[in-house]
Every structure is written in structure tokens, then in C-alpha cells.
Symmetry: C2
Subunit: 350 residues, 2 copies
């Protein structure tokens, strides 16, 4: 046992939120790469693009016109994956083909009127404004009794399937509880029932003691590379206080969340000096589904890049058919992120 | 209930192998795409590339030289994610940070000496030869008592993270059972214990009755788009006979598997007239782990393309944080694949 070293030897680690394991192969980035090298998307967007359906004052797909908004702007997705008026129904053929109708609401949130500025490049006030808008949206959507879960997220960058370059996030709210939330609920509940404290409260204690996976910390939030990270530079923002949703944050916590968001997104951009692609989103308690005292608010960042601005980690054959796998240790990733400047590499040019 | 129509309305479907659900949004490909358009990899590879570490007679990373093989060729990966000599060990910090050492063997299989020919372009004899090699590898690896699972797979194409364009597959064998196999074992066992028949035996009956998701069928195998497919053109090959692994196939079944493999890969290439990227692999019984009478051999194909040769489906924000989601129905995908020719679009040029 004394010879087993997580910095050197292949091993698996457990994700305490999902109960699943990730395979870690610390030595593996040494292999040569004759595979795909991504082209970088253009990084010279105008401040306002007349052809963009998110910019202020422009026409949208449904024929309506965006207001001349000056901070941020939310609207219902013109191409929603979930629709409010789906007829209720179920199918079960021979007990083996099972389907259920699904209804919901999809929202789009333009982060600012600026077509060219990402979250990392907005000031703290603007980011706090977005947090307030997320909270308002969460509140309104949860007032609809058929909604059971609200997923707030952002796909940033072409590499993450973002279908419009104007910086924006999305919200998908629906009448059932999606898989990842289901798994995290089970494990948080189990822990809370036994210990009377939230799983992430105790996890944060261990991480703050160990320090080696911490990237940033302020009064209210910790940014860290989770022990069980799958994506090379995956991080989480965890609130120090055990709150179940964004609705419970104080004004001070909203400010501190803005600073945590700015901090990690700036570090990400600085890593390869490129607007860093990721999918990110909050995990919060289900709504209209009881108390859920076990739930502890957190946010996941899943960025695909591994070696450089143009070479990503592929979650493919073994990962899809077998098990998630990563090529560098979470500790090495955290150290790299921690050592980066928190001043945006472009800020001289702004 | 009578109004709910799976061809029109958003719904969820259950994967009976994993127990998980997929969100289906039939109407959703109508949305405009201003997102990433892939560049096509060059399709003019030479028959032999002196710089390729898989071509016959060439030098490899470890300094050894490939034999002048004429059919196919297997060797241990010079950059294995799993290594045979990992020291055994476990870590459990405060019950929350859990890790276990992991050992295994990674193999590479060059499908033929030809640097330019994919599985779809090889003749049936050559494909049967690969199936025999897979069986031999499976046998040899399973004779190592520390190996519990053997994942045979292929990442095809740059888009699927293939790190060398010479057509090849991989095998990752390891001392524990990966997540996807774990889930499929649970659900197959549950069904087998209650019904005395394998889950996929009964599933095949339903699919052959319904016909609408069938792409191809011969004496021994069915190729279909599973009812719960996640990727747009995802398919499965299922053996008609309930066998637990590739070792149980008769000579006739090996021939029929070659023809099923050729058939689906040719259809895939014909879909967008491009060498179609995918990750594919067999799921089989764990080894050195008891009888596993419940296990039924099958093979999954996970291809990323959605709209065209250059626009793929992104499994990103909502999918990573919430739940897998697809944009066309499995029935529509099956119909498209079924109506394609099974003669390769390039065969005039060969
Ligand atoms: O093993 P390769 O071809 O170097 O690498 C490819 O397949 C592996 C197994 O699915 C993945 O872990 C890698 O991300 C992918 O690029
Ligand atoms: O909603 P968008 O931006 O059109 O689309 C993007 O995000 C969605 C939600 O994660 C995904 O389903 C799509 O595959 C992706 O391209």
C-alpha cells in the first residue's frame, strides 16, 4: 500500500455526488498527438452585430424585436427543446419500450448588450446583475407548479456547441428530475440523513484542510478542482453556507459569487490565452418537490481543452462504453489554475 | 393520452440496459445553426505512410519495429492508460476522498496493413479476420486472473479523438468493472432472474415485431436504432442467439457479424458521403467474475454527426449537467439508415 502514489499510478476516484468513479491515468499526456487540432474561432466580434438575434434592438426568429436593453435580457427560446403545452401521456410496449411525455420551458439569457464581451470580460456589477436575473428567473419558473427542476447553464464557445457567439446562457425547466440531479439528490440525502450536515459542507472542510485542489476562496465561496474531476480543468464553485438554491443568497453572497465567477473565468482565459470554452451550470434543489434540506448549491464547470488552445480531451470510445477517464491529476490541474494571474490577459487591450 | 405522439411531442424514453432516460425533442433540428462547422479531415491517405506507427515494417514509439504483417496486427499500446504493474492500494480520507489503484492492459489492433482503408472498405474476409483476432485477444486477456473486464472498441475519425488516422481499434482490459458495464449487468441480471430469458432476447422480439427501428438483419444478427438512442444515428448490433461473449460465436456467426459490421459502416459512410466518424465497441460479460448467465453480447455505435458531414450533435450544457437529449426520433434515424444503399459510395473509385 505504501507504494501506491496517486501522482504516478493509474487509479480510480469516487465522485461523492454521483457515486460514480473516474479512471485517472497521471502519466498519459506524454503520448504523441496526430489527431484533431481545432481551428480557433474568430476573436474579433463587433460590439453590436446587426445579424445577431441576441443583440439589442434586433429582430428574432419569431418576428419579434429585442428591446434596447442596457444590462441583460431574458426571453423564451424560439427553438425550445421543451414546450409548455405537451399533451400528457405514457407508452409502455411489452414492458420494454417505455416513454413519457415531457413538458417545460426553455429560456435564453443575453449576458449584456455587448456582442463581444464574455462573462470573464464583464465587470463585477454586470456579473452581479446576471446573478440577480438568474434568481428572478428561478423564482418565476418555480412558481409554476408543474415545474420540478430548473437547469441554469452556459455553453461557451463553438467547441461546446454554442450556436450563437453573443455571450449568453440558457435555462431549461421541466416537469421531471433529470438524471444528474437524481443521482446527486440520492447521495446528498443519504449523507444528510446520517450526519445532519450537508455532504458538501463536510467535503469543503476536507478540501480547505488539504488545500491542494483549491483555486480561489473568498468569504462566501470556494473554487476548486474536485477530487473526482473528469474534464482536465474541471472546477466547482461551492457556497460555504449550506443553501439549497440561488434564492437564499444574501446581497453579500451575490457579490462574492460575482467575484468567484469572474476569478475562475479569467483564469480559464489566461490558461491558453484564448477565450476558454466550457459548459457550466448550477446544481440546485428540485422545486415543487418537498423540502430537500439535503441539497447544497454548487456550480460545475466542464471545459474540454487539455493540451493547448486547440487540443481537447475526447470523451470517446472507452469513456462512452466503459468509464470516464482523465489524463492529468486534479491536483496538477488545480496547481496550474492557482498559479495563473487573475487579471485577464486581454485587459491591456480593453 | 390519445393526443401524445412520440413523432411530434417532447418526451423521455428509458434505456432498459442502463435504466436511464433520454430526452427526445422531435421538432428541434429546425433551429438555425450559427455554431461550429467542422473541417473535414483529408481523405487522400496513401496505402502506406512511412511516418505512421501502425503501418507494416515501421518503427514504433518504444523503438521496436512492426512486422511486415499482411492481415492485421495487435500489440500493447506504447502509451497505455492502464499498466499491468500498478502497486495495489487504496486511499480514504475522512470517508470523502476515495481512490483505488487500477491495473490493466491496453492493446492496439491495426485492422489491415492498408493505411487508407477503414472497416467499411475492407472485404468480408478481412473483417472476419479482425473478429477472429478480437476473439483471440479476449481469450488471452481473460486468462489473466486479475482481469475482470475487457473493452474492445474503435474510435473512428478525428472528430472522435482518434489520434492516428491508420484504421485501428483498441482494447482496454482492467481489474475492475467499468461504470457502463456495471449498469448493464444490474439490469440484465434483474430481468434474467425474473424471466429466465435474456433482456435483449425479449427486446429483439419486440423490435422485430415493430420493424420501424430495424436497419439490417441476417441469420445471426440484427442492426437497429435502439428505442432509447442518445446519439442522432446511434445503432446497436445484437446477436439473435443469447451468447455472453465473442468466444461463443460459431464460424457462421463470425461470418454474419462481418457482414453486419460491413453493412452498417457502409450505410454510415453513405449517409453524408464522408468517412463517418463514430466510437463503437462490444459489450460482453465480465471475466473471472462468475457465470454471468444474464449477459447478452451486443455492440454499440455512437456517431456524433447530426445535420451534415460537418455539423455534429453537441452533448454539452443541459446534457452534461442534466440529462442526455436528442433532436430527431430514433424511428426517423432508422428510416434514413434503412433507405441508404449498402454499396459504399466510393466503390466505383476503388
Ligand atoms: O487512445 P488514443 O487513441 O490515444 O486516444 C483516444 O481514445 C481514448 C480512449 O477512448 C481516449 O481516452 C482519448 O481521449 C482519445 O483521444
Ligand atoms: O440550445 P443551443 O445553443 O441551440 O444548442 C446547444 O445547447 C443545447 C443544450 O445543452 C444542446 O442540446 C445542443 O446540442 C447545443 O448545440
Amino acid at each position: 500500500d505504501t507504494n501506491f502514489d496517486m501522482n504516478e499510478h493509474p487509479h480510480t476516484r469516487q465522485n461523492i455526488l454521483t457515486g460514480e468513479w473516474v479512471l485517472v491515468s497521471p502519466h498519459r499526456t506524454k503520448r504523441p498527438w496526430q489527431g484533431k487540432v481545432e481551428s480557433l474561432p474568430a476573436d474579433n466580434r463587433p460590439q453590436h452585430d446587426p445579424a445577431c438575434y441576441l443583440c439589442a434592438g434586433n429582430e428574432r426568429a419569431d418576428g419579434s424585436r429585442n428591446p434596447d436593453y442596457t444590462t441583460n435580457f431574458a426571453f423564451t427560446n424560439d427553438y425550445s427543446a421543451l414546450l409548455p403545452d405537451t399533451p400528457v401521456g405514457e407508452i409502455a410496449i411489452d414492458g420494454l419500450l417505455k416513454a413519457e411525455s415531457q413538458s417545460g420551458i426553455c429560456r435564453v439569457i443575453a449576458f449584456s448588450p455587448r456582442h463581444d464581451l464574455t462573462l470573464a470580460e464583464l465587470d463585477l456589477n454586470a456579473i452581479k446583475g446576471i446573478i440577480q436575473l438568474w434568481a428572478e428567473e428561478f423564482k418565476t419558473l418555480s412558481e409554476n407548479p408543474s415545474i420540478k427542476h430548473i437547469q441554469i447553464f452556459e455553453n461557451k464557445g463553438e467547441l461546446m456547441g454554442c450556436s450563437n457567439p453573443h455571450p449568453h446562457g440558457q435555462i431549461w425547466a421541466q416537469n421531471s428530475i433529470p438524471l444528474e440531479i437524481h443521482k446527486e439528490t440520492i447521495n446528498q440525502k443519504k449523507y444528510f440523513q446520517v450526519n445532519g450536515r450537508s455532504l458538501l459542507t463536510d467535503y469543503l472542510k476536507v478540501e480547505l484542510k488539504e488545500q491542494k485542489r483549491i483555486v480561489f476562496e473568498n468569504d462566501s465561496f470556494v473554487v476548486l478542482v474536485p477530487f473526482w474531476a473528469v474534464w482536465p480543468y474541471e472546477t466547482m464553485i461551492i457556497s460555504k453556507r449550506h443553501v439549497r438554491s440561488i434564492l437564499e443568497f444574501t446581497d453579500k453572497e451575490q457579490k462574492d459569487l460575482a467575484s468567484a465567477l469572474k476569478n475562475i473565468t479569467v483564469r480559464y482565459d489566461n490558461l491558453f490565452q484564448v477565450s476558454f470554452p466550457y459548459s457550466a451550470g448550477m446544481h440546485q434543489m428540485p422545486v415543487n418537490d418537498g423540502d430537500h434540506a439535503e441539497w447544497h448549491w454548487h456550480m460545475h464547470f466542464y471545459p474540454p481543452l487539455l493540451r493547448s488552445a486547440t487540443i481537447k480531451k475526447f470523451m470517446v470510445g472507452y469513456e462512452m462504453l466503459g468509464n470516464p477517464q482523465r489524463d492529468i491529476t486534479p491536483e496538477a490541474a488545480a496547481e496550474t489554475l492557482r498559479n495563473l494571474s487573475d487579471i485577464h490577459y486581454k485587459s491591456n487591450n480593453l
